[in-house]
Symmetry: C2
Subunit: 271 residues, 2 copies
């Protein structure tokens, strides 16, 4: 059986962007988990992307896989892209290179070095590219978009844009309350439906042509889609892209948790 994989950072400007990234003078270690290194992207860097997704920051599964949005949030985004007919021609970057620890101060968010580096990625992916639509997940991503939109380089770029609720906002806001979770999920899916209707007409070159099927009031079969093997580095086992929950931050206190990622092969994989 052949296993496709993502070759990663093989050409400019990505070779340079992945060699020269902002560190602790730009991303304060009190606000970001610098200790695990930057995580740059997921998806196509070969110019074939039609949709750019801007996320927020990587978490523990992303730290191990070294690609962003590979967990539950990623599967929801994958489903959103699928509804637009996009199952390969996408690229995803984050507003922040490192996992947020606590919250991000306004001064950090505005740091010209943080913003400027992100703009180099956005220029590479948007200026003179085939991208037809941009989706921002959550507030930090929307802010990233708006800052870039004001730059001279952005002025000639004509793409559809939608800022949507972050895919795991319902879980984050409901804190285990099932009634709140259902309400927040319904609200998010309404928000995503509006984005689908706004973006769909602007997408001239989807990977597959099909009528737009909106979300219902809750998740339905097929709304969350497996992240394809071709987005992952070579040789990773199937369970790493078929599910999440296999990477946790464990420890008796905050520092111990911060220093830990515990990987557990899902049940049934080892017989």
């Amino acid at each position: 059986m052949a296993h496709s994989f993502d070759p990663g950072y093989v050409a400019e400007p990505y070779l340079t962007l992945c060699a020269q990234y902002p560190e602790d003078t730009v991303y304060p270690p009190s606000q970001f988990r610098l200790e695990w290194g930057p995580i740059f992207h997921r998806g196509r860097l070969d110019g074939s992307a039609r949709v750019l997704v801007i996320g927020q920051d990587p978490a523990q599964h992303e730290t191990v896989i070294r690609r962003i949005l590979v967990g539950e949030a990623g599967r929801r985004v994958q489903g959103l892209l699928a509804k637009l007919g996009i199952n390969r021609s996408y690229v995803l970057i984050n507003a922040f290179l490192y996992s947020v620890y606590g919250s991000v101060k306004a001064k950090t968010r505005r740091d010209p070095n943080l913003v400027g580096y992100r703009h180099r990625w956005m220029n590479a992916l948007l200026v003179g590219s085939q991208v037809e639509a941009v989706i921002a997940l959550g507030q930090a991503a929307d802010e990233a978009w708006r800052r870039w939109r004001e730059t001279p380089a952005a002025q000639g770029v004509d793409v559809a844009y939608a800022a949507v609720t972050h895919p795991t906002q319902p879980e984050g806001s409901s804190k285990g309350d099932r009634v709140k979770l259902a309400a927040a999920t319904k609200k998010m899916l309404e928000n995503w439906n509006a984005a689908l209707q706004a973006l769909s007409p602007g997408l001239q070159h989807p990977d597959t042509q099909a009528p737009l099927v909106l979300y219902g009031d809750s998740w339905s079969e097929g709304d969350r889609t497996a992240i394809p093997e071709f987005d992952f580095p070579a040789g990773l086992p199937a369970w790493m892209h078929e599910q999440d929950g296999w990477a946790r931050r464990l420890g008796p206190d905050d520092l111990a948790k911060r220093r830990n990622i515990t990987l557990t092969v899902p049940k049934g994989v080892v017989k």
Copy 2:
């Protein structure tokens, strides 16, 4: 600060080799940790390698980094290569793609599919290449070399060869006994000195020219060398290549241990 990195599998035949690798019909899950996926190599795949090192099988640090020989054994090999004047022009592969669990049966070792796939790597790295010397670490690697040497493709290849004691054999054989460890280390370093003397004259194009300095009876300053950042995938934090011990297999029983890798950021990294 710029961080160099290894772009990985970007050209043929490595794109195909990393997409089509033997799985459980070739590597029995009772003898190998298939659950963590195959790990292919470390070092130069761009034709610049002058020395090929054949190792044995990857362990837990290698599983996370997705490159081989990145822990203590790797640093010892790095030091051995440095004594030959090789600090960049090397490539390392393993006899086995997966971590050995227990021991490997003779029938598995001889499986034409296991051997044949390895030969495809060896052909790619040795036939018509610039490689001038091959070093095998331990018995499985020596066996891998000897099997390949008998193939038609190998007949036109003229390289120096040395089979050496595996770099962590002293720890493995002494099981915590310091006297035995010192004796086994001394014996290994004698064995490595013999290899250095055998290989050194055949190496026409080292990265640096310097007189051969042999090992003493025990490890000296500089004998173990950090694995360079340019061997690692993009974005990995410095502590992952400066030391090992940060990845452990923990659990209350064998199955739990087999399913676990626990990552711990070294002390002092998070302040």
